[in-house]
Symmetry: C2
Subunit: 349 residues, 2 copies
């Protein structure tokens, strides 16, 4: 364990991290029961290895809770609009709390009708989507889940950011093994990857972003001042529009340039929107064959001859699901500084 101490890392169990993260959120003024739900999504993110979207976010959630930009004690309303349609008003609470509650409400509706959708308004940063998709898959639901976000992408042919890098996820349960989960944003790369290049003093490919005038650039600093490029040109632009239409426009949330910036307006409600579509695979005609069909599907993909013999072909989510298994067995490795700061906050409650 010496190497961990030397490298400034700390290993912590799932239970301990949940306790720590929820205590820190409670110290920011959230009721205990809400803090537990909000923390659960963030801890899962860390267990999946997505540390950029895990408990490291609590400090920025806390900043907004302190400023009033997020409501500490939201009254989350769940309204059944039709047997399969649920409208959720998050009352500007923490996004992962609202997301977790919305997921539960949509799963309940989908058990009745076989499929249900939830449309969420009045929310904030959703966290990563893979925890929601994974929970749904564990309960037997195939899912499509997405969120809108602060504007960082320009429409194709435009030179002004009017769309978010809207994350979307698809997940398919697998009764006989690992689910398949795709969780992706719609830009070619995340802004974090451009920041990393800047910090390392490296140029970036000119397909990642434009400068502030809308011209492709290889300069990471100019790109950070500019606009992210979506995957596949007009296709990624179109997907971003569609996520915002389903998550923002249909839900009653803000959309496009109406979404407040997390960074620039920390004291104002973002009014983010999310949507969930869940299908109860146990109700489908082939429910009994699902395990064998998923196994056959995965086998065909895994048997693809790899371009590099050292790198076998993988399915979406495989790395993350292996991280989850490892995190459960060995605990979660986090920067010691992060754990210390959460402990300090939790103790001050």
């Amino acid at each position: 364990m010496n190497d961990m101490i030397e490298s400034g890392m700390h290993r912590i169990s799932e239970a301990a991290l949940n306790e720590l993260a929820s205590s820190a959120l409670t110290a920011y003024g959230m009721p205990q029961v809400d803090a537990v739900d909000a923390a659960g999504v963030l801890v899962l993110a860390d267990m999946f290895g997505i540390h950029t979207h895990g408990v490291s976010r609590i400090a920025s959630y806390g900043e907004r809770l302190d400023l009033g930009g997020i409501n500490r004690t939201p009254n989350i309303e769940v309204m059944q609009a039709a047997p399969g349609l649920v409208m959720i008003d998050g009352d500007n609470g923490v996004g992962t709390l609202i997301g977790a509650r919305a997921l539960d409400a949509v799963m309940k509706a989908a058990r009745e009708t076989g499929i249900a959708a939830g449309f969420v308004r009045g929310s904030n940063h959703f966290g990563p989507i893979i925890p929601y998709g994974w929970r749904a898959a564990e309960a037997g639901f195939a899912s499509i889940i997405a969120s809108n976000a602060t504007t960082t992408i320009a429409p194709t042919g435009g030179r002004d950011a009017r769309l978010g890098n809207n994350p979307m996820a698809f997940a398919m349960p697998n009764p006989g093994g690992m689910p398949i989960i795709l969780d992706m944003a719609l830009s070619v790369v995340a802004r974090a990857k451009i920041r990393d290049a800047r910090d390392r003093g490296e140029a970036i490919p000119d397909t990642w972003a434009t400068d502030r005038d809308g011209f492709p650039t290889t300069d990471p600093a100019a790109a950070l001042d500019g606009i992210l490029l979506p995957i596949g040109g007009y296709k990624g632009y179109g997907l971003s529009v569609m996520v915002d239409l389903f998550a923002g426009m249909l839900s009653g949330a803000a959309f496009l340039t109406g979404v407040k910036s997390w960074v620039d307006s920390p004291g104002e409600p973002q009014n983010l929107g999310h949507f969930f579509i869940l299908i109860d695979t146990s109700r489908l005609a082939l429910a009994a064959d699902l395990a064998s069909r998923m196994a056959a599907f995965a086998a065909i993909i895994h048997a693809t001859p790899p371009a590099d013999p050292q790198r076998p072909v993988m399915l979406a989510g495989e790395n993350e699901l292996r991280n989850l298994t490892r995190s459960r067995a060995d605990g979660i490795l986090l920067p010691a500084k992060l754990v210390e700061s959460l402990k300090k906050k939790a103790a001050g409650r």
Copy 2:
């Protein structure tokens, strides 16, 4: 009209083209009522300007109808698996017939529950998706519709085509104006675009496809022997997997390499799968605001400063919807040879 005759084009009304196309399909042995439904989707494709997926396909459908690769008289079964879940077995009929019938069944279910999904197996070439998305939007449904397809794409890191260029579409109704409809395949470009480059003797960008060994190529002939590249690398690969899981795996259809090639096995059933998810927007909490919210959404996008002042920013489907309006007013412009060949076939029934 002289220029049209000189350029070998023929203008035909929607009603006349529907009559002609359904008569041709009837001449291949389809019952009249089925031929009308199958033709309707193809005629709409031509009206949207997507002539590669319109009535020009009837000859290849006919070839397979003649060979027994498609069932002339399918018994399309619609099974209600749950209030919001419909399973459709197309009995290897013409894909556009099965698609049209499936759409009707799913719309009916979604009227009851607010949202419904349809999973189709035993189908063939689906045609373009925009006609289905548009019909759903006209009836007030937001939709996600997709199909699997013959393998043309390799998994990321692989050098063998194991996935189709699976088309997916999202459509959002607009009570006050044009719906927004995104209909896209998951490759960077369609094979037809590579064929065009080859026919013109031009090189292609190395991001479009690999050669048969899995290496990116600028030679269109090598690319046509090789494998299409998906949008956004692993993201497009993941989307293709997800479409196949929902359209092929969940429906009970063939998936991945199990889908028979349209070209190589014209005498065998393809067993293609499709899926439809329809949301009745009239049931949502904000139904009364849908027109104003859609108008506000479109206005923000259209007001984006364009990179090229001559080319204003557009929304997905705008060109196609304008073509539809024009086709309705002025008729549909088709190659005279195509119209002649359909007339000849129809007369021989």
